[in-house]
């Protein structure tokens, strides 16, 4: 019986100590956790130092994507305006974030290192259409990498 009382007192002590220990949770929207730079979250399309798009529209990411979440439409780069670093670019680039399984194969397949998965993971929308990220959205990611 005394063993039981001792054990119960010890248990109460353990929980009481927990009152003063650091919390495991954070108040989320104000404070955010630091994610590893290798975290696979939302995609982005990178540009080089001069502001040219790295994507050449080769379609390798589209081919490798196991969830068929990517759609690339390639075209010859327009003459006057230098959007791309070479003579081809992607006119349209869409990622369906509902289908995407964030495996990172597109990132691995990309020959120019244009598509990258950023640590940004706040993926929520009230509309399925909003979950399809178009090229404009991918070019201006909330978190760069």
């Amino acid at each position: 019986m005394f063993d039981g009382v001792k054990a119960m007192t010890k248990g109460l002590g353990v929980t009481f100590k927990a009152l003063f220990e650091p919390r495991d949770t954070i108040s989320y929207p104000e404070k955010r956790r630091e994610y590893s730079p290798r975290f696979r979250g939302k995609h982005m399309l990178a540009k080089d130092a001069d502001g040219h798009e790295l994507c050449v529209g080769c379609g390798l990411c589209e081919a490798v994507c196991p969830a068929h979440a990517i759609r690339v439409v390639a075209a010859a780069a327009p003459e006057g305006k230098p959007v791309s670093w070479t003579n081809r670019y992607s006119v349209d680039y869409e990622v369906d974030l509902i289908r995407c399984i964030f495996c990172g194969m597109c990132e691995e397949a990309c020959p120019t290192n244009a598509v990258r998965l950023t640590p940004f993971n706040e993926l929520a929308a009230s509309n399925r259409l909003d979950m399809i990220a178009d090229k404009e959205e991918l070019l201006h990611p909330p978190v760069k990498k």
Partner: protein
């Protein structure tokens, strides 16, 4: 005339205090449970979560009041009201502070001050079982029924030990009037010192009577979904919850009155504040115990009540009787 108005005002004030007390006990419990579990607890609504009870109440009031088909409509509707009524009425006899003088009137800080206040408190709290048993029965749900049956067995078993544990105080004070029990403690020191064993037993049985962890078998969510209030929703569900928390405040208030000197305390704080502080400490212990211990097994609960608590409190009661009567 004036005394009638005063009485009505006191009743309304008491109900108001109990309702806010319930709301903030619940908030404090949820935050403290968060702290005990290394979380933050609800802190979103209002500064520090202070408006959370309001949001909860609003949500409860706006929810649909469901009744399962096959339920006994009359009893299903009455049961939560009974629970709440029993919980509220016990507090009528608890003195919250020394009588105060205001506008040339002496105001007792209780609704009624009957000579058998302690027994009346027990009578009303014993009626609280009905709400739970009937709610469980009327829901036509096997989990609710099991919860109600467990509640009746558990509360009857623990009421005996509870009654025996306060008899020592009754004998030492020589009265069942709660105010005079407090005055007796003013003269002879808090009864918790000579009556430490009954105090512990009273506290354990109080946890069992209010159906709180580790004695929350009537609503054991791991096996009975939610026990007797499985089918309840909306305002009727809220009534059960209010009753549970007000019961917690009530048994703490009774414990303070009987064992911890009621409103007595050093004079740098007003008496009513001492009462509140003592009740708050006991409520904290309630929450602390909830955060620490796992639930009893049903047969262990019964044998603990009948074979440990009851004999110990009976022996201590006999010892106190012998001591008070002068045999020892």
């Amino acid at each position: 005339m004036i005394s009638t108005i005063l009485l009505i005002v006191k009743i309304l004030v008491l109900i108001g205090i109990l309702m806010t007390g319930f709301a903030y006990t619940m908030l404090v419990e949820r935050r403290f449970l968060g702290f005990f579990q290394l979380r933050l607890g609800p802190n979103r609504v209002g500064p520090g979560g202070l408006l959370q009870p309001l949001a909860d109440g609003l949500k409860m009031a706006l929810k649909e009041d469901l009744m399962p088909t096959g339920a006994d409509p009359m009893i299903y509707r009455i049961a939560p009201v009974l629970s709440l009524f029993a919980a509220l009425s016990v507090d009528a006899v608890i003195p919250f502070g020394a009588p105060i003088h205001l506008f040339g009137q002496t105001i007792n800080l209780d609704i009624a001050n009957p000579s058998i206040g302690l027994l009346i408190a027990f009578a009303f709290s014993s009626l609280g079982i009905y709400g739970i048993v009937l709610g469980g029965w009327a829901s036509q749900n096997k989990y609710s029924l099991l919860g109600g049956i467990r509640a009746s067995a558990q509360m009857i078993s623990y009421e005996l030990a509870m009654g025996l544990s306060v008899l020592g105080v009754l004998m030492m004070a020589g009265t069942a009037n709660l105010e005079r029990i407090v005055f007796a403690q003013q003269a002879r020191g808090w009864f918790v010192i000579p009556q430490i064993v009954p105090f512990v037993i009273y506290f354990i049985t109080a946890i069992a009577e209010t159906n709180r962890t580790p004695f929350d078998l009537p609503e054991a969510e791991s096996e009975l979904v939610a026990g007797y209030h499985t089918e309840y929703s909306g305002i009727r569900f809220a009534m059960y919850i209010i009753a549970e928390y007000i019961n917690m405040l009530t048994v703490s208030g009774l414990a303070v009155t009987l064992f911890l000197g009621g409103w007595l305390g050093p004079s740098f704080l007003p008496p009513i504040l001492w009462f509140v502080i003592k009740v708050a400490i006991l409520v904290f212990v309630f929450i602390w115990i909830r955060a620490t211990f796992p639930r009893f097994r049903y047969d262990k609960l019964m044998s603990f009540g009948w074979k440990v608590l009851l004999p110990i409190s009976f022996l201590y009661f006999l010892g106190t009787a012998a001591f008070v009567s002068g045999i020892l």
